[in-house]
């Protein structure tokens, strides 16, 4: 039996990775467990320049979910390479570097420099961050812009490129097909849904930023539906995410059409969630008498 999952640029020993922005650059979690148990690691978004992000409060709790408006805080390209990647180098686990920007040039620059380090397995284009105007959300909702950006980043980068799709669209399959035609090597989906919470005592939005991105179990049915729809339209590899917190959730994502999964918000509730899920998934696969986790996808959903 094998959980081995080979995606472009990401030879994963299991299909589970922490999701971008929910795991920093791994340093904190390395204190809790061996990061080599992970299938891959999606790094926090890197931008060309350092960013402080939004003011606090940056998170709010909602029913079975949370809103965040971190605002892409990160130390900037230079330090990500010199400090974060330098530290991550010691790991065997393949890295998926999430990148964001304001302009196409930003994306190209970050993509070129990160991939040229040869320390990352693949890039994940964040064109779907709902929390900063410059987070690329326009690229994420306009299929032409998304395709153009994908093309340019593909040219700039020396490694495979995944595009992370926004769920805040009328028809996600249109975006998926647009970036596929533009040469994307894979898809990540879904990013957070734009949401808001108002503090009725202060009469103000609870987040300093006003709105934020909704993640966690609450959005799982939306993620599943979108992956299911996109899978019917393309054979591109899909990294599925959105509310995963149990082994059954992972299986549900794989059945919907994902090839691998990312776990985001659940890392906050349980820092051990990723290794725990990997272990459970291994057990489940054995119980099912499967020879490979890929069997789930091959069977697909009977509907």
């Amino acid at each position: 039996m094998s959980l081995q999952t080979n995606l472009p640029g990401l030879p994963m020993k299991n299909p589970v990775m922490p999701a971008s922005g929910c795991f920093g650059f791994g340093e904190e979690f390395a204190k809790w467990y061996d990061l080599n148990t992970l299938g891959a690691i999606a790094l926090k978004a890197t931008t060309a320049e350092p960013r402080f992000g939004n003011e606090t409060p940056r998170v709010a709790e909602t029913p079975a979910g949370m809103l965040n408006a971190i605002g892409l805080q990160n130390p900037g390209l230079e330090k990500v390479v010199s400090e974060k990647l330098a530290w991550l180098k010691a790991l065997e686990t393949p890295l998926l570097a999430n990148i964001a920007g304001t302009t196409m040039e930003d994306y190209e620059k970050v993509a070129a420099e990160l991939s040229s380090t040869n320390l990352i397995g693949a890039l994940e284009l964040n064109i779907s961050c709902p929390n900063v105007k410059e987070g690329g959300i326009a690229f994420g909702t306009d299929p032409d812009l998304a395709a153009e950006l994908t093309k340019r980043v593909k040219k700039a980068a020396s490694c495979p490129v995944y595009v992370k799709l926004s769920p805040n669209v009328t028809d996600i399959t249109v975006l998926a097909k647009a970036v596929e035609q533009a040469g994307a090597d894979g898809l990540s989906m879904i990013n957070t849904l734009s949401g808001m919470k108002i503090d009725t005592r202060s009469k103000k939005p609870l987040l300093a930023n006003g709105s934020g991105g909704l993640s966690g179990p609450a959005i799982k049915p939306i993620a599943i539906r979108m992956i299911y729809e996109v899978r019917k339209q393309t054979e591109l590899p899909i990294i599925g995410m959105g509310g995963i917190s149990t082994c059954d959730d992972i299986i549900e994502f794989l059945m919907a059409g994902a090839d691998a999964v990312a776990v985001g918000t659940a890392n906050f509730t349980n820092p051990f969630i990723c290794p725990e899920l990997i272990e459970e998934l291994e057990k489940w696969t054995l119980e099912q008498g499967m020879t490979s986790i890929q069997d789930i996808r091959r069977q697909g959903v009977i509907s």
């Binding site: 920093g24 992000g53 998170v59 709790e61 890392n267 509730t269 349980n270």
Partner: protein, 258 residues
């Protein structure tokens, strides 16, 4: 630093809407300093989803127990208040840096200032300081007599002055009023409470040395999500920052923007 199902030894209301909970478990042995906090999951279900940060009030490492004091605010703390002896609570901790005791000496005076549910982490601190032979003076501020707790407990560590906003216990007014009135002097200041209180203290004692403990809404509690950052006073608009959960919650006076 552990994730553990700790067992509840007791859980009782000690002031209006304020509960003291005693917990036992292995992570008590990991506590490094007073002022560290726990990140507690109030339910095993997905609602509420996030953990709640609550300060360690006191710890008995020999007995293997610790205590927390919390006010029932929303869904999480209300769920906690309904738990009974023998039930377990999913706890991550101890987290954060806590108060450093190394820069104050036996003969010196520590002024401890706590407001409301900012008081709990200061209790462990007061006891440690007193044990070290430091002269401890404590000012506790509450909204009213109903909210008051731990006055007697602090008395075991030194003088205690109480203020309430409505004057129903101790002196009427804010903690700064008491400090004025009693003309309290100190070598080190330690404070925890509402931000306006902390700001008032920094303004009142612009050159004092000491530490304050902060609150911020948290995601992970371990430094990974960047939910809890604050600006530094040396770079208030820039990209420099501190994370309350892992660089704090205790910071030197005037280090971060309040």
């Amino acid at each position: 630093m552990k994730k553990e199902n700790m067992t509840i030894c007791s859980n009782q209301e000690i002031a209006e809407n304020t509960f003291e909970m005693e917990l036992t478990g292995a992570l008590v042995q990991d506590i490094q300093a007073p002022g560290q906090f726990l990140h507690i999951k109030p339910s095993h279900e997905n609602v509420p989803l996030l953990r709640r940060p609550l300060s360690i009030c006191d710890a008995d490492q020999r007995g293997g127990t610790l205590s927390i004091i919390y006010r029932t605010e929303g869904i999480g703390t209300n769920l906690l208040s309904k738990k009974t002896n023998g039930e377990t609570v999913d706890v991550l901790g101890p987290l954060g840096n806590g108060f450093s005791l190394s820069d104050i000496n036996q003969e010196q005076t520590a002024l401890i200032v706590g407001g409301g549910v900012g008081v709990p982490p200061l209790y462990g601190l007061a006891r440690e300081l007193a044990r070290k032979g430091v002269h401890v003076e404590t000012v506790l501020g509450f909204s009213d007599a109903e909210a008051l707790f731990y006055e007697d407990a602090f008395k075991e560590t030194g003088n205690v002055y109480v203020s309430t906003v409505d004057g129903s216990a101790g002196q009427k007014g804010f903690v700064t009023d008491v400090i004025d009135q009693e003309d309290l002097a100190f070598d080190r200041l330690y404070a925890c409470g509402p931000t306006p209180m902390l700001k008032a203290l920094e303004n009142k004692f612009p050159k004092a040395e000491g530490f304050i403990s902060l609150e911020e809404r948290m995601g992970c509690g371990i430094g990974a999500c960047f939910a809890c950052v604050c600006h530094t006073q040396t770079d208030p608009e820039g990209s420099e920052y501190r994370k309350v959960c892992s660089d704090g919650p205790v910071f030197p006076l005037r280090e971060v923007v309040l």
